[in-house]
Subunit: 343 residues, 4 copies
Amino acid sequence: MVRIGILGATGAVGQRLIQLLDPHPDFEIAALTASPDSAGKPYRQAAKWRADSPIPANVADIEVVETAPAAIPDDVPLLFSSLPSSVGAEVEPTLAEAGYVVSSNSSNARMDPDVPLVIPEVNPDHVDVLEVQRDERGWDGALLKNPNCSTITMTPTLAALDEFGLESVTVATLQAVSGAGYSGVTSMEIIDNAVPHIGGEERKMESESRKLLGSFDGAEIELHGMDVAASCNRIPTLDGHLENVWAETRETVTPDEAAAAMAAYPSAPLPSSPEEFIHVFEEPDRPQPRLDRNLGNGMAVSAGGFRATSDGIQYNCLAHNTIRGAAGASVLNGELLVEEGWV
Amino acid sequence: MVRIGILGATGAVGQRLIQLLDPHPDFEIAALTASPDSAGKPYRQAAKWRADSPIPANVADIEVVETAPAAIPDDVPLLFSSLPSSVGAEVEPTLAEAGYVVSSNSSNARMDPDVPLVIPEVNPDHVDVLEVQRDERGWDGALLKNPNCSTITMTPTLAALDEFGLESVTVATLQAVSGAGYSGVTSMEIIDNAVPHIGGEERKMESESRKLLGSFDGAEIELHGMDVAASCNRIPTLDGHLENVWAETRETVTPDEAAAAMAAYPSAPLPSSPEEFIHVFEEPDRPQPRLDRNLGNGMAVSAGGFRATSDGIQYNCLAHNTIRGAAGASVLNGELLVEEGWV
Amino acid sequence: MVRIGILGATGAVGQRLIQLLDPHPDFEIAALTASPDSAGKPYRQAAKWRADSPIPANVADIEVVETAPAAIPDDVPLLFSSLPSSVGAEVEPTLAEAGYVVSSNSSNARMDPDVPLVIPEVNPDHVDVLEVQRDERGWDGALLKNPNCSTITMTPTLAALDEFGLESVTVATLQAVSGAGYSGVTSMEIIDNAVPHIGGEERKMESESRKLLGSFDGAEIELHGMDVAASCNRIPTLDGHLENVWAETRETVTPDEAAAAMAAYPSAPLPSSPEEFIHVFEEPDRPQPRLDRNLGNGMAVSAGGFRATSDGIQYNCLAHNTIRGAAGASVLNGELLVEEGWV
Amino acid sequence: MVRIGILGATGAVGQRLIQLLDPHPDFEIAALTASPDSAGKPYRQAAKWRADSPIPANVADIEVVETAPAAIPDDVPLLFSSLPSSVGAEVEPTLAEAGYVVSSNSSNARMDPDVPLVIPEVNPDHVDVLEVQRDERGWDGALLKNPNCSTITMTPTLAALDEFGLESVTVATLQAVSGAGYSGVTSMEIIDNAVPHIGGEERKMESESRKLLGSFDGAEIELHGMDVAASCNRIPTLDGHLENVWAETRETVTPDEAAAAMAAYPSAPLPSSPEEFIHVFEEPDRPQPRLDRNLGNGMAVSAGGFRATSDGIQYNCLAHNTIRGAAGASVLNGELLVEEGWV
């Protein structure tokens, strides 16, 4: 069992991490960090627990510590980070320098050339960017990122289509409120409403997807050449990002071929990777957030509604934004880091 | 005052028509039709009134009649139709043949070459297709249509952009539940959910928009050559369709030029046309359904979120789907028919 | 394994029954009935499956039969009924006469003196009313009912309080839309709204609770003498009925004593009965529908918010309305019928 | 025209006050206060305006000042306060001492014996408590309060019933999210959920209602002797508090008599008082928040669902919580203060 720590353990993604990590076949929760206010308190007291299952008994009594190298035991080699990005930007490099391997969901540093941005089923080879990172930064530890939730939702389906030569992607998202954290969207903002803008999200989708599908030659990652245009909307759903995608490819691809490519796209041999990575629906009105977000314990992506357009195809895809799109993504990256010998 | 009738007066759009027509400066409600079950009953009894204002007193006691030429008084020259499309397909031609002028919201016959499909601020000249219609069908009356609600929402903004030469349009809709009628979407379907498919809606948007922006040479309407790809989603909002649009034009257009073209697009000199036809927001997170659907008494369209893409622009637009997108659209077409001397 | 049948298997409660019965330690689904339209079709085709888990593979291919004695195999002794009450009223007696034991969720016949109305943790001894039923009706089979969902939610908490001598109960319900069936509440009715009336529900709560807490002397059930006044509201939640209760008792009871009585109230030794029957929350803002409806796999009841009033106590309680309040209630009654030797 | 000021003008109730006061027949907005951060900025910049109508042009450019006597012009005799209660507790007495008449919606000081708590249609005579207040406190100005939103909703109906001698009231509320302010309820808390507890609200309803219906003998207010037990729930509605009430009276009252007493209860001769104060519905499923909250421009109360119980009656009532229950209540009290010569 690898002893692991959770950075930012009291937040919404932190709580999801605890749900996913207790129990876990290979990991054991050994440290929980939060802001200085919470340090010294047992977790049950530090966190306002809002999940629909109780706090795991093992975790409830762990004493929360500050998010700093000195506060985290040395025998906890792997840290999962769900810190606010400004905090992450400050503390994650310090921790990596101090020798910890950090699998982070925070948005800082995702596009840094020497920081791998990874979905294990899509670009596991990018993990080796860590060699460049260690060379350049002189770190004993490492910092690896997963992409943002709306990017994770569509990228597996794009990876499956890339055998036809992706040239351009247009995507509209219908994102759940949990993506903004527990208090990110007020009820007055969103009941009987939708908000056609999520600050910074469009740009993340447009850049992170190109890095994920980019090629790594051992020295640097070349971004994928496709053109991506995203429009991001918040709607009154709790969990599950639904996305409408239009893709143009160099080679002609029919809706059936696109669906088949996705259904055949392999999963990864890791504990949290679902048996069926991309579930393809035949029903034109699926996937739907409430019905389909929990496929593969929330770690599967699903797709449906394939149609031909004049110069490509359109389809819809969906993933659970706080599991596959955040906490589960970090856990999976942690599993990959162990598998590849980085921990 | 023109005496008018409402076909399908007990349904959701029928109820909106009554709200918009009582009072109205030029029209007086003189006949209400519904299915045979309701015929003979006073309206207050025939309709399950669900609006958030009471039934107008004048209307409550009108005796509902069947939707048939024999049942509608001869001195009611103008009829507004919100019949189910299968009923409309059967009865609207009969009424037009019998001499009534029908301004219809029903989806049947919208793409028939000799049936004008009109938004008065966009293509008022198409009304003259009625001459062809009378020639060909030998009708004394006339049948004119407004487009479907999701098409009406985007088409004014496209009309404003067409001075730059529209080549392709990609659109994702976030549609309100009222678009499906009072009982069209169950609560179990849509609470904490979204449905990425609305049967037939994509095709309507793709064809109707090309007819609306098409050119009429006095003999026939040539569809606009632009390519349209639509993806339609139902979300948990009550009223107001929000749409994400990507447009490519022959001439380069900047986001500012696009916004300016929309803001400058003229309204029509008709009673129900709003002073400001297209309201342009500077805030990137507007328009929003609940906040902006009632602009111009629900008859304005609004737009915002303009951004450049690699080969065009993207923006968002919104309109009230049961006012501008349905009942109000029919009323406005009725006003145009009177103005142009067809009634 | 007891071979069982489900009457009305395509409806919302029917689908829940399938989820709860496949797999089940003692029962094996052997027959599914539905309306004549569906008879002859495989279940996967007959039902519009809307649950968030797929149809169990064993069940998908079962051929649906009509809801009639002749259509149901003789070696299926136990039937779970979720028929519309008008259908239930007609067909359930026929089936019981033909020798089947029917555990029914339908609302017909619940107050018939010789029909046991049972919550196994509350009044298991009422099952023996079946002897009276067989005597009087000459049936080989039997008909047993579970109460309606809003009654089931509060009755366990009242049973726990009855040691103090219940005299009067006032209850306001906040009921989920699933209680009305899949299409029972339209989205236009309930989004941004609440409906302070559910036809017949108040009367059911007021009478069924008195039967459940009534005493059975071997010959007949004497209704409990308490006075019950209910007010029933529909709100925009999917599952889980929340209820505010005020109870007056002969002996004074403090909030702490009430909470302790509920926490100590025993569960039943049946497969579907939860380990902890009534979960008592200390937090004043719990139970909440979304957070707490799945306690005990949806079979637990929860309570909280205990306060003293001038002449009694008030508190809140909650249960999952389609599991504990409907399908799960019938399954549990089936388990009791087997345990007691009626099947 | 009386020049008035709004204390806490940028908040949710402050924005409602602006909507209700511009235009207003007797009042002219002359001062807007907010926290020190906002002081010096034009209102359009200081406030994040979220109403569904634009900021009135007159108001948009007013320079916001601090909430302090020195900052408010002397020729602004009447102030409407929607300050957070902790701020109100500090600053309202200072303003009243300095000579301003303050009509306040803030919850501080509502139960102080020398502070009138008033609904003009219910207890206008309580305004004269201000004489006691001036005597005791030596103020040149005055401080008058309206009750909290859930209390305002039920109290008019109780006032109508009091002719039968109210003895006890049990009430369950279904409250809208706007009652907690714009950011008071997060979307994660309330979508597909309900919260059976609103801190302090039960106690407010139980005490404020007794003060409102209390008698004032010129020297002090004697609280009404009725017993009130409240249970407060937050549900996913935007505006409009719905309440289930059970009332016991000394004299027997039938449902019809109760309804008639409410329908006959008079309104007040003030500009913002609705023509029909209490609207009584015959339909058993009304009032409903979305359909009925805007009756009388949001200033009417409505009631329905009358039923006899064993020892009294039960019914439902509703009012718009941020208009009749907050901003409108303060405006109405301001009108009463002018009418009675206190301004």
